[in-house]
Amino acid sequence: MIEDLLAWFGQAYGFIHAPLGQGLILTGALLTIVGAVGVLRFPDFYTRLHAASVTDTAGATLMLVGMALISPTGWVALKLLFIWLFLFLTSPASSHALANAAYTAGMEPRTGPGAGHGPGGVS
C-alpha cells in the first residue's frame, strides 16, 4: 500500500519536476524584472530598496528552487541549497545595512498624501 503510494509519487515527480522547475525559474526571472523596474520607477530610496530586495529574496529563491527541481543529481540540489542559505542570510542583512545607513545619514522617507508622485530622493 505505502510502496504503491511512494511509487505513484515517484512517477508523478518524474512527470512534473521538469515543467515545474522551468516554470519556477521563469517566475523568478519575472520577479527579477519586476524588481529592476521598481528600482527605476519608485520615488525614493527606501521604496527602491524594497524593489531591489524583492529581486534578492523572492526572485533568487524561486530560481534556485526551480534549478534544484531540474538538477540531475542530489549533490547539485544540495549545493543550490547552500547557495540559497547564503543568500537567505546575506541579502536581507545587506538590505537592512543599506536602509540603516541611509536613515542614520538623515535621509527621510517620503510620507503623506502625494508621496508617490514626482521625482524623489533626499527631502
Binding site: 542570510l89 546575506t90 542583512a93 537592512h96 545595512a97 540603516n100 545607513a101 542614520t104 545619514a105 538623515g106
Partner: protein, 356 residues
C-alpha cells in the same frame, strides 16, 4: 570545431560586454570617488561573469575574489586618506588622455583582426604547448584540474614570481603607510573602539543585525577558503583565491567589529610574518628539491627515495610539491592582503556613521 554558433551564449556575451561598457563610461564620467569605487566592484563582478561564460572559471574566481572583494575595500581605504570627490579637469586638459585612449583603442581593435577565433582548435595556444599540457597532465601530474598543474608544477617558477610580487606589494604599501599597528594601538582610537565594543548592543547601536549575521558568516568564509585551498587540484580554486578569501574573512571582521578587535584576533605582526613565511615555504620547496638532487621546483625528486623512481610515474611527489607550494601561496597572499588592509586602516581616520 562547430560552425553553428550558440545564440544564447552570444546574447549573454553581448549583454555582459555592453554592461561592462556602460559601467566603464560611468566610471569615466563620475566625480564622486565613492560611487567610482563601487562601480569598479560592479565592473569586476561583471567581468567575472563574462569569464564564466568563456569557461575560464579559475580566472573568474580570482577576479570575483580580488577585484570585487579585496580591492574594493582597499580602494575605499585609500579614498578615506584623500578626498571624496575628484577635481574636475580643465576642458583642454582632457584632450591628451582622450587622444591616448582613442589611439590605443584603435590599435587594440586592429589587433583583434589577427586573433584566432574563440575556441579555434588550429590556433597557436591550442596546438603546441596547450595541447601538450592537456595530454600529459593526467599521466605526469595526476591532478584533474589542468590549470592547477600548469600553475603550480609546469610553470611553478612563474608562480613563485607572482607570489613574490604579491608579497612585495604588501611590503611596499607597508613601507609607505606603516604597518598600522602603532597608530592603532597607541592612540586613543583603539581605546574608544574597545570601549564601544564593551558597551555592546545598546540603544544607539545600529549595527546589531550586521554584527550577528557576520558572526555566523565569518567562520563559514574561513572554512570555504580552506575548501578552495585543498580542493584546488580537483576543481577551480587554489592558493591565490583561498588566500584572498581568508583575508576577506579578517577584513570583514575588522569592518564590522572594529579595527582594534581585529588586531586582537590577528595582529599586524602575525599577518606580515605569515606573509613572509608563505614565500619562504614556496622557495623552500624549491631548495628542498635542489637538496634532493633535482632541479629547482622539480617535485619528482621529493618522494623519489620512497619507492617511486625518478621521472617516471611518481605523481606522489608532484602531489606533495603542489600541496606545499599552494599552502605557501595561501599564507603569502592572505598575509599580504591583511597587511595592506591594516596599513590603510591604520592611517584612515575613524569612520563615523554620519560620514557615509
Amino acid at each position: 570545431m562547430s560552425d553553428s554558433v550558440n545564440l544564447g551564449v552570444v546574447l549573454v556575451n553581448i549583454a555582459l560586454l555592453s554592461m561592462l561598457f556602460v559601467v566603464a563610461i560611468a566610471v569615466a564620467r563620475l566625480r564622486s570617488l565613492f560611487a567610482i569605487v563601487m562601480l569598479t566592484g560592479v565592473y569586476s563582478l561583471l567581468s567575472a561573469m563574462w569569464f564564466v561564460a568563456l569557461d575560464a572559471v579559475d580566472v573568474a574566481f580570482t577576479e570575483a575574489a580580488v577585484g570585487a572583494g579585496v580591492s574594493t575595500v582597499l580602494m575605499l581605504g585609500a579614498m578615506l586618506l584623500t578626498a571624496r570627490t575628484a577635481r574636475a579637469d580643465k576642458r583642454w586638459a582632457r584632450i591628451g588622455p582622450m587622444l591616448v585612449v582613442a589611439v590605443t583603442g584603435a590599435v587594440l581593435i586592429y589587433a583583434t583582426i589577427d586573433m584566432p577565433g574563440f575556441g579555434d582548435v588550429h590556433s597557436l595556444p591550442n596546438t603546441y604547448v596547450g595541447a601538450e599540457y592537456m595530454a600529459r597532465t593526467k599521466a605526469e601530474i595526476g591532478v584533474p584540474n589542468v590549470v592547477t598543474a600548469v600553475l603550480a608544477s609546469y610553470r611553478g617558477f612563474d608562480t613563485l614570481g607572482e607570489t613574490g610580487v604579491v608579497f612585495t606589494a604588501g611590503l611596499a604599501v607597508a613601507l609607505l603607510l606603516g604597518f598600522g599597528e602603532r597608530s592603532l594601538s597607541a592612540g586613543h582610537r583603539a581605546g574608544a573602539g574597545r570601549q564601544r565594543l564593551k558597551e555592546g548592543p545598546g540603544k544607539g547601536d545600529h549595527h546589531v543585525i550586521v554584527r550577528v549575521v557576520s558572526k555566523v558568516l565569518i567562520p563559514v568564509i574561513a572554512l570555504y577558503a580552506l575548501y578552495v585551498q585543498f580542493h584546488g587540484e580537483l576543481s577551480p580554486g587554489g592558493g591565490f583565491q583561498a588566500g584572498v578569501i581568508l583575508a576577506v574573512a579578517v577584513i570583514l571582521y575588522s569592518l564590522v567589529f572594529g579595527i582594534s578587535a581585529a588586531l586582537d584576533a590577528v595582529s599586524a605582526g602575525f599577518a606580515r610574518r605569515v606573509a613572509a613565511l608563505g614565500l619562504m615555504i614556496y622557495a623552500g620547496v624549491g631548495f628542498w628539491t635542489l637538496i634532493e638532487g633535482g632541479l629547482f621546483l622539480d617535485y619528482y625528486t621529493l618522494l623519489a627515495h620512497e619507492g617511486g623512481d625518478h621521472h617516471s610515474a611518481n605523481t606522489h611527489g608532484q602531489h606533495l610539491g603542489i600541496m606545499l607550494v599552494e599552502i605557501g601561496v595561501l599564507l603569502a597572499v592572505s598575509g599580504s592582503m591583511v597587511t595592506i588592509f591594516y596599513a590603510f586602516a591604520g592611517r584612515a581616520p575613524e569612520i563615523r556613521d554620519e560620514d557615509w
